[in-house]
Each structure stands twice: as structure tokens, then as C-alpha cells.
Symmetry: C2
Subunit: 456 residues, 2 copies
């Protein structure tokens, strides 16, 4: 994606005004910032000197401060929640949506989180503890429990009254999908607020509900939730326990965040970096270095095999020094075509265009791609070596090697993501550098065995 | 992302039943499939033999068939719309949402699209033509014109009545955000259906609307729309013309599709493949080959420079043949560390964590990363060469080269995406293979000049 418009600098312009207000009449801060979207007020808060941030939060009404907290950068939010008194922190957090509250607590030191949690009142506290029990990257960890559910026998008027009551209570999420339950809490159907508003007066919710409901268990991976949301154009995905009882719902705004985070992880893995888990400038220098060093060192050791392989062919090399000039060309052509295959298949697996059962079809296709592309590059290689004044035998070795290396590489590049998926790993660890290192050794062995055979 | 649950096989199980119904009592198809989500019915339609697909569509009521059409795979949809009579195609398409209708027409041959368009009635036709005039990857190309807008002086009761009327008319999109306009159609505020339902009776929409509205022009890139949706947790982004008049809105379901497509393009570019513009198995063999060959050939020619560079040092090489054993190790270490930097910076630019104004900060950071990682790999290299029984001078050359190459590569890898962004290109063309080829030549020059200097 391209670079975004720069809104933060605009937020930065407001900072002096906010500081002046905090100094002179903190009571006016709320009214002066009332029209700002909470996301923008969070931008302003992030641009404030750290010691003024807690002051700003104290100057805002609790509801508004809680809104800002939901949009605040995670690291800063944790810092702020450490700086406030546990009671004040609990007061703000109790006004956050249950899923965001659980997320915010998860980022804190355990002792601090427990302190704040013990200040949060009865029901909200139990609910938060239940949400905290789920893994953060699962449907349970993403879901909100603030949903609108009605008995399946209700009239549409009662359902609408429930929605209105939830809206008036200032609840913010998951009211565009409404759930119909039986007496034991089992989900029997779902309907949209649009369908509710369109329903003829006097009808029952069971008449307007869809009964073939798309749902997930709380353990479902966030990728699965994202895929269903996208496939069915959902505004929320209901989360059911093993008996079909409704636990909560994952809303589309959290799905979008999950998609973007998941994609960042995939892209970083594809570039041979362990996922950073923080924005670039917020991740510490040494944490980034560690997440890169692991792969670099692993690939370095794999690549050491190329030195061993070449040393085996020292005699061949000494007899035809010009052979070595084409080593980088050959191994990089293998690496590039292998990277292409790995990238195409990894992405196709991620979006569901390719599944494991297509493995043979994928390998046939990629093998033939390797044949076509390899023949093409082989011909170029042959011509280049001939034009360089080298003997035709060498040109032939380079050309045939390129063909063989490109076929090998497309097959390896296509196989690795499938194998990783098969064994439950993320296919994206078949990164470009990984595939390239894998095929470098193969390339050198093919090249020098062909050379040893042809040229002697 | 990991592999998805396999729903298509489930759809495939329904196929024999549907075929039997089409043969024996086509009149019952509608009732028998009534409870299926249109996305699932589209899966069934995709699994049918091609010649039965049009039959199924004819057996469904027009509204339902239009729903299925919206979820149908694009290629198949185009095929179907070519197979139906222009009048029947127009009848179905007039029931699609305006944005999906325009998208479907865009995929057809121009003559066929014109034929169908001429069968579509007055207002819908003009609307479709207006939407077709926008580029498909812009806010104008993604937006729907079926939105709910009310005069800013309206009471909340009137606004709710408008929403109900839209819902009863079977309109499907963009009613969770409602727009308040002045007499000339200029957008004055926005409020959510939730806020409308919570509003005290008798209030005016201007009292509940937010006036600091996030909006885009029709020319805005879909990435910008996606970024705003994610930042502000929007269900729809209003699209305004140059005078601030409301043209339509981009809804969150289309934003999710845009995010996923955009991400597929980025990942493919990062793997040195021109974006395929179709799912893996649907893209034709030769179209994929072409989209790979371009980059492969370009990188091949870049890599030819390595042969030229090495030939220049033939004398040095002949004097110390062991030098060549470490060429792949050195250039791949450069490629890997450069890929990491390019990937990190490209993704950080895409999600807005890094902007162009951070260029110096990025380069300093990546240069220091290169120093740390290069020192690490250099030490490993020195030890390995020494253990291999080679002279310390060679070990020193390899170690120092690794340090210099890794620093160069991280700087190059970080610079390229910034430069591409600066000149209006997608930073993702700084792919791993691209960066690797770029730094291979640099690696060889550094290595052999150090060797020529140290070892003679």
C-alpha cells in the first residue's frame, strides 16, 4: 500500500492549545475537544509530552476518556494505566467495551492487571476474567459479550425495544446483528437490524431470522473468523460454545484489525523476519535484531553448504575458472523463480484459492512453469556465455543448468508452503530467503556435476 | 494465514440434489434452497456443470438470483451474463446493488455490457454509467449510491422513517451510517443507526450528528479508504465531490475485499511476481508465466553484472581459488539481510507506521541493524574459514566482507522502498529478489576488492 495522508502532524498542531488549556482552565478541555473523533483525540494524546497525558485523561469525562483509551497506541495505553491510580484506571476501563478492556489488561504486568481488575465491579469483572481466559488471537479473545439477543418467540417490537435499550445504555458494539436464542441460550437464528426495521408489524423474530447461521467456536483462529466475515459479508460473527450456546460475537472492526495484523505477520515471515509484534519504531532495536538474527544465522549455516559443495569440485574449477563467473547468476535465477512459486502458493493458501488437496495440481503447474521459464532463461544464458567468447561446451553447461535449476526451484518453492501447512506451520515461513538458500546448494551441485561431466 | 475450512466440498455434496431438482421439478428449486446463504448457494452454483448454471439462475426468483450473482466468482459471473439473454441479464443486474452492478459490467466485453446496460431502466442506468466512469480501485469505483441521507433539519422520527422505507424497499447496503445534508446536497454531518435509535424523541438529526466527518473524494485510492475505515472503526466512508456534496459511500464489506486484494498484490510484488489479478487456478498458465518472466529476465540481466565483475578479478581468483567457495555465502547473506530491511520498511509504509518524513530515522536504524547483524555474521564467517584450514588473511577478508555487505544491504533494502514511494511507485516492488540482485553485484565488488588488497 502507498503512504497514508499525514493526520498526526495535524494532531500535533493542536498540542500547544491543549497544553495551554490544561494549564489555564482544565475544566474546558472536555467542551473544547468534544467534536473531535476519539481516534483524533487519541492522536493528540499521543503527541502530548508523556507527563501531560494522564492530566488530559483526568480532565475528560470518564466515558470520553474510555473512548480515547480504546484508540490509544497500545504501549502508551499500558504506560498510562500504570500511571493512573488503580481506582481511576478501573473506572475508565469499566466503560470500555469488554473485548477492548480484556485486551488492555492483557498488555499490563500481571500484578497491575490484578489490582485494576479487583477495583472493577462484579459483573464486568467476571466477564473480563472469562474473556482473558481465551487466547488473544482466537475468536474468544476477539469477541465482545455486549450483544443483543432475544428469545426466539419474541415479537419484532420487543426485539427493537431491546436494541433501543442497548443503544440508550451507551453500548457500542454488535447491535447490527441480533441473535434469537432458545430458553437454554442456544443460538437458533440471526437477523440484521435492517431486517428488523423492515419486518411487518406483529411478526415474530423467528419469521425474519436466518436459521443457517455462520458461527465459530471460541477457539477458532482469527484467520478463520476473517475468512468467514469476508466470504459472507458479515458485520459480526457469533461465537458458540460446544453446546451451541451464544458466548459473544466478533465485530467487523476487530476483524479488520486482525486481517491487517495477520498480513503484517505473513509479510514479515515472507521476508525472513520473525513477526515484530509492534509497529516498526516502537519495537526496540535489539528485539528487531533478535528477530532477524535467528533467520540470518540459520540461513547462513545452510549457505555454508555451498562452500563445502564448491570445495568438492576444486579440480573442475581449477581446470575451467570461467565456470565460477556464472555461479551467482545461476543460484540467483534459482532463488528468484523459487521465491515466486513460494510466494504465489503461500498467498493462494492464505486466501483459500489453493488447499492441500490441490497439492498435485499445484506441483504439476509449477513444474511446467519452471520448464517454460527455465527454457527461456537457459536460452538467454547460452547466448550470453557464447557472446562472451567462452567455448560452446561451457555455454551449454550454463544453459542446461539454468533450465534444471529453475525447474528444481519452482518445485521446491511450491512444495515447501504445502509441507509447512500440512504439518501445522504457517506456510509463510517458506520465505524468499529461505527458499533461495534451499535451492542455492542444489544449484551448485547441478552446475558442477554437469560441468564435471560435460567439460572433461 | 493458515488453510481455510473446506466449505466447497460441502457445496459439492448438494450438487446432485440440485441437478435432480432441475431435471424433475425446477419450480421447487427456489423453496428447497431458500435457507442457504447466498454465498453458499453461489458455491453450489460454481460446482454445477457449466451448462446447468444458467438453468439454476432461471429457476430462482430474480431477487435471489441477483444475490447469488453478487457472490459468484467473477469469471463465472461474466460467463453466465454472456450466456443469458441481455434482457434477463439486465433484469437480474437491476436488482444488484449499484456498486456490484457496475463491477459486474466492468468485467464484461464492452459490446455486451452496452447491450445489457441499454436494457436496464432509466435511473439505474444513469447511476451505473456514473459509477462506471470511476477507476475500479478508487473510492468512486467502490462506492454504492444506495445510502440513506436526510435534510439536516429533519427530526429523528423522520430519519428513522427514511431508514425503514429503505429497508422495506429491500435495499441492502449502507444504512448503518446516515447522512445529514443541507439544501444543496452538501454533507453536514453523519450519525449511526445506533445513535438514531438512542436519540430522545423529538430531537433533530443535527443534534445527534457528528459534524467532523471523515470523508474521501471519489478519486481516493482504495488503500486510503481502507486506512480510514480501520483507524476510525467505520461501517462506511462517505464519498464527496469537490464542493462537499455527497456522492455515495464505501461500505465495510467492500473495504475488507479491497484490503485482501491489495495485500495479495503487495505479497506478489514482494515475491517478484506482477499481481495476477485472478485466483491462482483461474489465472491462465501463460498469463502467470508472463507475469513472472518480466521480473526474472530483468533480474537475470542485473545478475549478469556479477559475471562481468568476477571476470575482472580473474587474476586474483586464479591466485586464491578458495576465495570463490565463499561467494554464494557472502552474496546470500547480503540478499537475506537486504530482504529483511526491504520487507520491514515496505510493510511499515503500508500500514502507516513509517512515513517518508522518517527517512533519516529509518536509514540510521537500518544502518545500525546492519552493523550489529553484520558483525555477528562476520564473526561466524571468520571462524568458519579459519576452521576450514584456510589462512587467517582469507578468514579476515571473508569476515570483513560480510560486515560490509550486510551494512550495505540493509541500507539498500531500506532505501529502495522509500525511493519508490517518493516517486509514486508501490514500495513493494523492492522485492526480496530485487534487493538481492541489487546487492549481489555490490557484494562481489566489495569481496574481491578487499581480497585483491589484503591478499596481494
Amino acid at each position: 500500500m502507498a503512504s497514508p495522508k499525514e493526520e498526526r502532524p495535524v494532531a500535533a498542531l493542536l498540542v500547544p492549545d491543549i497544553i495551554a488549556l490544561l494549564d489555564e482552565s482544565p475544566g474546558d478541555v472536555a467542551a473544547e475537544t468534544e467534536e473531535l473523533h476519539p481516534a483524533n483525540l487519541a492522536d493528540v494524546a499521543e503527541a502530548l509530552p508523556r507527563d501531560r497525558l494522564a492530566e488530559l485523561m483526568r480532565a475528560l469525562p470518564a466515558d470520553r476518556a474510555a473512548d480515547v483509551l480504546e484508540y490509544l497506541d497500545e504501549e502508551l495505553r499500558s504506560e498510562l494505566l500504570e500511571a493512573l491510580s488503580p481506582r481511576h484506571a478501573a473506572e475508565l476501563m469499566s466503560r470500555m467495551t469488554p473485548d477492548d478492556r480484556a485486551d488492555a489488561l492483557e498488555d499490563l504486568e500481571e500484578d497491575r492487571a490484578d489490582e485494576i481488575l479487583s477495583e472493577i465491579g462484579g459483573e464486568a469483572r467476571g466477564e473480563t476474567e472469562r474473556l482473558l481466559a481465551y487466547e488473544p488471537d482466537t475468536a474468544g479473545g476477539l469477541m465482545t459479550t455486549e450483544i443483543v439477543a432475544v428469545p426466539e418467540a419474541s415479537s419484532v417490537e420487543v426485539a427493537l425495544e431491546n436494541v433501543r435499550a442497548a443503544a440508550r445504555a451507551g453500548r457500542k458494539e454488535a447491535m447490527y446483528a441480533i441473535y434469537a436464542l432458545d430458553a437454554t441460550g442456544v443460538l437458533r437464528g440471526v437477523f440484521s437490524l435492517r431486517e428488523l426495521l423492515a419486518a411487518p408489524p406483529g411478526s415474530r423474530v423467528t419469521d425474519i431470522a436466518w436459521h443457517d447461521v455462520v458461527s465459530v467456536p471460541p477457539t477458532a483462529d482469527r484467520e478463520e473468523v476473517a475468512r468467514l466475515t469476508s466470504k459472507y459479508d458479515l458485520v459480526a460473527v457469533p461465537v458458540l460454545d460446544g453446546s451451541g450456546r451464544l458466548l459473544g460475537a466478533v465485530t467487523v472492526d476487530d476483524v479488520i484489525d486482525a486481517i491487517v495484523e495477520e498480513q503484517t505477520e505473513d509479510v514479515q515471515r515472507l521476508g525472513a523476519v520473525e513477526p515484530l509484534e509492534a509497529p516498526y519504531f516502537q519495537a526496540s532495536f535489539w528485539s528487531i535484531a533478535r528477530k532477524r538474527a535467528g533467520w540470518l544465522v540459520l540461513l547462513f549455516f545452510a549457505e555454508l553448504l555451498t562452500a563445502t559443495a564448491m570445495a568438492r569440485y576444486e579440480a573442475t574449477l581449477a581446470g575451467a575458472l570461467a565456470l565460477v563467473f556464472f555461479v551467482p547468476l545461476i543460484i540467483s535465477s534459482g532463488g528468484n523463480s523459487g521465491s515466486q512459486s513460494a510466494t504465489l502458493i503461500t498467498r493462494a493458501l492464505a486466501v483459500g484459492d489453493v488447499e492441500l488437496r490441490h497439492a498435485w495440481r499445484v506441483l504439476t503447474r509449477e513444474g511446467l512453469q519452471g520448464l517454460a521459464l527455465g527454457a527461456f532463461l537457459g536460452a538467454f544464458g547460452f547466448i550470453r556465455v557464447t557472446l562472451g567468447g567462452e567455448p560452446t561446451s561451457l555455454a551449454l553447461v550454463v544453459g542446461v543448468t539454468l533450465l534444471a535449476v529453475v525447474i528444481t526451484s519452482t518445485l521446491v518453492g511450491a512444495t515447501l508452503p504445502l509441507v509447512f501447512t500440512r504439518f501445522g506451520f504457517d506456510p509463510a515461513i517458506a520465505s524468499s530467503p529461505f527458499v533461495a538458500s534451499f535451492v542455492d546448494v542444489a544449484g551448485i551441485l547441478i552446475y558442477f556435476s554437469l560441468a564435471a561431466w560435460f567439460l572433461t
